[in-house]
Amino acid sequence: MLKIENLHVAVGDKPILKGLTLDVPAGEVHAIMGPNGAGKSTLGYAVAGRPGYEATEGSVSWKGEDLLGLEPAERAAKGVFLSFQYPIEIPGVPALTFVRTALNAQKRARGEEEVSAPAFLKLVKAASAALKMDFDMLKRPLNVGFSGGEKKRMEILQMALLEPSLLILDETDSGLDIDALRIVSEGVNALRSPDRAMLVITHYQRLLDYIKPDRVHVLAGGRIVASGGPELALQLEAEGYDKYLPVAA
């Protein structure tokens, strides 16, 4: 489903990804683990199309379609969703307005009918209740003054409403206490389905206790240097990333 081949990405003059190859079949959850500075966030940005993170070589395709030639919003309409490690605050734009604008823009791009305001409200009420979110919070500007946990829930709420088919979670566990981590993970797990693929980027094994991956990959020095089953995450937790660092150097 997601096919990344020999991806090279430089940020400024600095090469970050140096020939990354990865396949995530439909219905699977793959974890990307690696030391700080390995290029984990860069991978998420490159797939989502962040300016400044353009590929210099290689390809990224989603459901057989090339992503690299598309604008970020076009990729989103194709189902790509990147959950940010630090979700951005948007002053002046209420969360409800933001999500409805995004949902309808995606629907327009796909030639689908837009969602009416009452229908949207009904969707949001159900989705926010499932995430134990205070509905009134959604009338406030997006993420402004939200706690770390609230911001992450807001990300999951957007996922639930936008129904992406490729989910990239960038360090979703950072800044979460155990209760919030459980709620967020339940939200993510509820989205697991045979026609979705997920890429879970994380430094620690902890998140993978809650979101169980089918495969685990080690990203170091801008490439995938090892792949395995869930046991690889446990091994990394026990042994650290040291043994992969010489490979990276």
Binding site: A73, I90, P91, G92, A102
Partner: protein, 342 residues
């Protein structure tokens, strides 16, 4: 800057140049080298951007108004008046002097519009506004001038004891445009809010200048101006608050914030506080920046196309000024006016 410049379109020597400090960024003598031919009489149908809000209409067309030269609000109730300045003749010039009087205890919503329906005109408007004791005036101004017009509007405002003057000016600029407000604040119980919004593209220019002079104790002034400039447009904000000797307890706050969205666009800001009294609270803040790139990417990542994301962020930035308009009907008209121009 304390002495106002009187402009007479029939006298080229009255046009200030940039050598006049208060007109440094708005060089009228350069934009207007000779006196323009006088605009003809014309009629317009009732209407304007605030038509839906009803009220009494005074239309000044090409500098001429039918029979009267002012508005008076008195007696109980919330009065509404629409004051329209309409330009309909290409390449001609006109000037008008209009008075607005809100008598003691009265309340007026003044909906003022500058409507350019011709090319290359010159408009010079002077307003004398007076508020009696305890009077309340909400002045909402929409300036829709032609891109090649020269448009100057100056208001002298006097406030009686305990009067409330609440002003919001919204503009898209012109070839050269200036909106100036000069207020004498009596202090004690009187309150002034004087806001502005400019949204300029192409080669448009807009200058929002104000002088608020506090002469009495415990006066309150709040000022917020926000602007966005694109292309080669130029926004000018000159805000001056004077606290005269003895005007203790004055509380004056001024903010000007602008976004520059074009590499060749320009903003000139001159916030000034002149304080001659003790025990006052005065503050001003001035920022100039760009749209937040990470916010733009975040919005696009969620499926909002780049242009729509920019418009949404721009509106979010400017809407604070609109939200400060207390009158719901006027606020909605302004909100729609703004949304249509983003």
């Amino acid at each position: 800057m304390n002495a106002p410049v009187r402009i007479d379109l029939k006298d080229v020597s009255s046009f200030p140049s940039r050598r006049v400090e208060a007109w440094k960024y708005t060089d009228l003598s350069r934009a207007l080298r000779e006196t323009p031919p006088v605009s003809p009489y014309a009629d317009v149908a009732p209407g304007g951007p605030f038509a839906a809000l009803g009220g009494d209409e005074l239309a000044v067309v090409n500098g001429h108004c039918e029979g009267r030269s002012g508005l008076i609000a008195e007696g109980p109730g919330d009065h509404i008046a629409r004051l329209r300045f309409v330009s309909t003749a290409d390449g001609t010039g006109h000037q008008a002097r209009v008075s607005v009087e809100v008598r003691a205890g009265a309340s007026l919503l003044l909906l003022e519009s500058y409507e350019g329906r011709a090319a290359g005109y010159v408009s010079n408007v002077a307003l004398d506004i007076s508020l009696g004791e305890g009077a309340r005036l909400t002045r909402v101004v929409i300036e829709d001038d032609a891109e090649d017009a020269v448009s100057i509007a100056t208001a002298e405002v006097s406030l009686g004891e305990g009067a409330h003057f609440l002003q919001t000016v919204l503009t898209t600029g012109a070839k050269l445009q200036r909106h100036e407000s000069r207020l004498a604040h009596p202090g004690e119980g009187a309150e002034v809010r004087i806001d502005g919004l400019y949204l300029l593209d192409g080669a448009r220019h807009s200058d929002l200048t104000s002088v608020v002079s506090h002469g009495g104790l415990n006066g309150v002034t709040s000022q917020l101006t926000k602007g966005v400039v694109r292309d080669t447009a130029r926004g000018v904000f000159q805000g001056k608050i004077i606290v005269e000797r003895g005007a203790d307890g004055t509380d004056a706050r001024m903010g000007h914030h602008a976004l520059i969205l074009g590499e060749r666009a320009e903003v000139d800001a001159k916030p000034e506080l002149e304080i001659y009294a003790d025990d006052v609270q005065c503050a001003h803040g001035n920022t100039v920046g760009n749209l937040d790139e990470s916010a733009l990417f975040y919005m696009q990542q969620r499926g909002i196309p780049a242009d729509e994301a920019r418009a949404l962020l721009t509106q979010a930035f400017l809407i604070e000024v609109v939200d400060r308009i207390e009158h719901e009907g006027a606020r909605e008209v302004v909100r729609e006016w703004l949304t249509a121009r983003l």
